[in-house]
């Protein structure tokens, strides 16, 4: 068979999930080709030039890269290491006051300064969240079962049920109580300081089209904690270094990369994948085609509605995949001007979230097509966090800003300017003097992310993470096993279970599933 096809498998998209999937397949001796329209690998990690500085296209920090995958693929042998493994966070109020915290430890010194009660409550609450996230983490690693399926499905359900039961009666009850409700109510029950509550709420909604009062915003928080127990990290050399390490891991196992190659469609014959056709008309053949782009683009553009059933297409078209998070890069000249630079902790992750209602109002703006007047901001200075960049005279600050509606009312350039101005003002409030150091800036709206990565809607997670798009319902019920109805076509991107961020789990899960289903030809 292998002589008949150019490759055993073709992976569309050299994002991290695409490369993770390719590496696992290559590890099992499959001949794999990765094709990508861009000139460099990485997808959201892809390095781009920003006024002479290399910055990742969209990825800000590592919120939960699956560590077992780092070991499996021996990424450390391919130059991967962390510059910082556990970045501390600070949340800012409107008056510039701040509270330091971390989702990964029980340090309450800063919190105790504003509320003794909150400081007493936090460790127990945090540890419970981490415990609960263990359930999610367990679910995340599994390929979702089908209802009424075979014994493997039954085993999956049993394993999840056991894991739940092991929490103990009252803890299980609590998990089931808060699992699907909103983070606003849960935080109101536990804490009193508005800014601290806003910080935890911000962790739950960052990257999601959700506000603190939205249903299942506890689930998204647990999802975030599931990957790395709340640790937020930055690879040495920046986020793009992860892309480079994955590429190296792929290549060392014989994966071929073909860049600057836009896939026009998946070639289908007799209801089976035969390969891909590139934009220039080149056809590359393989019996297995794996798409790391979003499910909607894969199904409707690469495969085509004519190969799918109407009901299925209807569900795919209704996947909620509109992004709401913008990214802004600031180029800064030397930072000596920051009077209290060290005291402020330029090596921290700075969150602007005065209280939960401010986040909620920012969300309301986006619901009606406006950018948030007072947005939620996460600001980091990667060149300060990563010691290997210390030589550089210029510094970089990057901000994630939400909410920015995918479909905006009014002039998009005006919105861009407003967003930049709002973000600059908030950065100035968190780091007084910041504005005067800005020498250049770059605004990346959801539409820009969509344009740059090719995922419909420009959503971080390719598809909103919500209970109706989670586990066996992700992205739609009939696609939850990573497999399209057309034989030989698979999904491995963030739109699949367990979802997005830079975790690599969808890519790994898909590879496991593919290896179990497709024998070596």
């Amino acid at each position: 068979m292998s002589t008949r096809y150019n490759y055993d498998a073709i992976v569309i998209g050299a994002g991290h999930n695409g490369m993770v999937c390719a590496a696992y397949l290559a590890r099992a001796r499959r001949r794999v080709l990765v094709v990508d329209a861009a000139d460099a690998v990485g997808g959201a990690l892809r390095p781009i030039d920003f006024n002479g500085l290399s910055v990742p296209f969209a990825a800000q920090l590592d919120y939960g890269l699956d560590r077992s995958l780092v070991d499996d693929l021996e990424l450390s042998r391919h130059g991967f290491s962390y510059a910082v493994e556990d970045i501390g966070s600070s949340v800012f109020n409107r008056d510039g006051s701040r509270i330091d915290y971390a989702m990964s430890n029980d340090d309450t010194r800063s919190l105790a300064g504003v509320s003794k009660d909150d400081a007493r409550q936090w460790p127990e609450f945090r540890q419970r969240l981490i415990r609960f996230s263990g359930i999610i983490s367990d679910i995340a690693r599994r390929s979702p079962p089908r209802l009424g399926g075979d014994s493997a499905n039954a085993r999956t359900w049993l394993a999840i049920a056991l894991k739940l039961r092991r929490l103990g009666r009252s803890e299980m009850r609590e998990f089931l109580r808060i699992g699907a409700i909103n983070i606003f109510d849960v935080l109101e029950e536990q804490f009193e300081n508005p800014t601290f509550k806003a910080a935890i709420a911000a962790e739950a909604v960052l990257g999601h089209h959700l506000a603190p009062r939205s249903p299942n915003s506890v689930l998204t928080l647990l999802m975030r904690l599931a990957g790395s127990q709340g640790k937020i990290a930055l690879p040495r050399g920046g986020m793009s270094a992860l892309g480079a390490a994955l590429q190296s891991a792929c290549e060392s196992r014989g994966v071929t990369f073909r860049m600057n190659a836009l896939v026009r469609r998946v070639v289908i014959d007799n209801d089976m994948a035969r390969g891909v056709e590139l934009d220039d008309g080149t056809i590359i053949t393989a019996p297995t085609v794996i798409s790391s782009t979003d499910p909607r683009t894969t199904c409707l553009n690469l495969v085509g509605a004519d190969h799918l059933d109407t009901g299925f297409v209807r569900r795919v078209r209704n996947i909620r995949s509109n992004g709401c998070t913008a990214r802004i890069d600031f180029l800064l000249d030397n930072l000596s001007g920051f009077a209290a630079a060290s005291a402020l902790g330029l090596k921290r992750r700075l969150i602007y979230a005065p209280d939960m209602d401010t986040i909620e109002r920012a969300f309301n703006d986006s619901k009606y097509g406006r950018i948030s007047a007072e947005p939620l901001v996460e600001l980091v200075l990667p060149t300060m966090l990563d010691a290997s960049d210390r030589e550089s005279r210029q510094h970089l600050a990057t901000a994630l800003v939400q909410y920015v509606p995918y479909q905006m009312i009014g002039d998009i350039n005006m919105a861009r300017d407003t967003l930049l101005e709002n973000t600059r003002n908030i950065a100035e409030l968190m780091l007084p003097g910041f504005k005067s150091h800005i020498t250049a800036s770059r605004v990346l709206l959801p539409t820009d992310i969509e344009h740059g990565l090719g995922n419909h809607g420009g959503h971080w997670h390719h598809a909103e993470i919500a209970l109706d798009q989670f586990f066996m319902l992700r992205p739609v019920p009939a696609l939850a096993q990573y497999q399209l109805p057309v034989a030989g076509i698979w999904l491995c991107g963030a739109g699949c279970h367990p979802g997005g961020g830079i975790s690599g789990v969808p890519g790994r899960n898909a590879a496991v599933r593919i290896l179990a289903s497709v024998s070596l030809r």
Binding site: D271, L300, D306, D309, T310, V313, P485
Partner: protein
């Protein structure tokens, strides 16, 4: 606008001034939102007109969609189970379409007016499904149910009536042929199709010509025994012809709200011949192919010759060991076949020829109920199938 059922207004068809004048019984029923005649004078008279002379039936409430555009053929080929690429211009095809699970949504007819111009006629309304199916295809879908009036002229003298009305050459139309005519300035499409299983035609035209066409046909048919026919007589001819009817012999896919297998696949309704697995993808293909390959059909449709003269309507069917094996979906005493006939859905595994099928029939006479165990034989459909139905040029009987 969402309207409560009690707020909705049942409409009249474009022929209402004529149908209401002929309708002596005042027996009307709501058909897809239009009030239509059940019986004009006497159901037997109307039935025998269809079998012995010519019957005129108002089928304007049929749901009609015009489907046009560069991908109209590709769209229909993905929607329907038949290979629509093989349907010639000026031809009509009986078609069926399925949901993702391979369960029948509805059946109907497709008319091909030109390469990129089709019309789909069916029982139920399907605009949302058609529009969703159009995603990814360059196609325009317009519902023309209201603006296109339609008449069926069925029976042995139907061809002669049309000739006498001025439709020259109509006898040369083969079954399922379609032709465009002009009558007193009105453009009329005539297809040699129908629901009676006999020689017959259907006429399609803009509703503003409705009364002129009706009058012209009634005038031309005076010496040929033309008789307006209501829905009850049509139903009799339909069963004799062995045709299945949505929401009678199968539940239309869009109507099912309960789980539990109330829908039927085309393979379970004897429509295997409509399913083409080699034409490329179509809605439900994967499910139907699995059903076909794994032999997982749950039911089959059979025609029954029922002992005695009592119609077996809604009767449950049993085998010789009194195990329930199915149900009668349509039944009647056939005046032409002189026997009690039925269309039934039985369990797929039943060996119909040797099962010793009997129908459990309940009949009432003067409020006194009686139970009849009527032996049934499986017979070929159609029950009534005269050669004149097929002969071209059509005879002037």
């Amino acid at each position: 606008m969402i309207m409560a059922p009690y707020e909705s207004q049942v409409l009249t068809t474009p022929f209402h001034p004529r149908t209401s004048a002929y309708c002596r019984t005042n027996h009307w029923a709501n058909w897809s939102g239009y009030t239509t005649v059940q019986v004009y004078t006497d159901v037997q008279l109307e039935y025998f007109a269809a079998r012995n002379s010519a019957a005129l039936f108002d089928l304007s409430p049929m749901t009609k969609y015009d489907i046009t555009g560069p991908s109209a053929e590709a769209f229909l080929n993905r929607l329907l189970t038949r290979d629509i690429r093989r349907l010639g211009v000026n031809r009509v095809a009986y078609v069926a379409w399925c949901n993702d699970d391979g369960m029948l949504i509805d059946d109907g007819t497709v008319f091909r007016f030109a390469n990129n111009r089709f019309r789909l006629c069916c029982q139920e309304r399907h605009l949302p499904w058609l529009l969703d199916s159009a995603f990814g295809f360059d196609v325009d879908i317009t519902e023309v149910t209201e603006s296109i009036a339609a008449l069926a002229l069925q029976g042995p003298t139907s061809c002669a009536v049309l000739k006498s009305a001025g439709f020259a050459g109509i006898e040369n139309l083969r079954p399922f042929d379609l032709a465009e005519y002009e009558l007193h300035g009105a453009s009329i499409h005539i297809s040699r199709t129908g629901f009676t299983g006999d020689l017959g035609y259907e006429l399609w035209f803009h509703d503003r010509h409705a009364l002129d066409v009706w009058d012209a046909l009634m005038e031309a048919g005076r010496l040929y025994g033309i008789t307006p026919m209501g829905s009850q007589a049509l139903e009799m001819t339909r069963i004799e012809a062995g045709f299945i009817q949505a929401n009678v012999d199968f539940l239309a896919g869009g109507r099912a709200t309960r789980p539990g297998g109330n829908l039927r696949s085309p393979l379970e309704l004897g429509l295997d011949w409509l399913v083409n697995f080699d034409k490329g993808h179509f809605n439900g293909r994967r499910a139907l192919l699995a059903e076909h390959q794994n032999r997982t059909s749950r039911f089959k449709l059979v025609g029954l010759d029922v002992d005695g003269n009592k119609p077996a309507n809604d009767a449950l069917l049993y085998d010789h060991r009194d195990r329930e094996i199915g149900v009668v979906t349509s039944a009647m005493w056939s005046p032409t076949c002189k026997k009690s006939i039925a269309i039934a859905s039985i369990k797929h595994h039943v060996d119909a020829d040797h099962a010793g099928i009997w129908a459990d029939i309940y009949v009432q006479r003067e409020l006194k109920w009686r139970r009849i165990k009527a032996t049934c034989r499986v017979v070929e459909r159609p029950f009534f199938n005269p050669p004149r139905r097929r002969i071209t040029p059509a005879g002037a009987h």
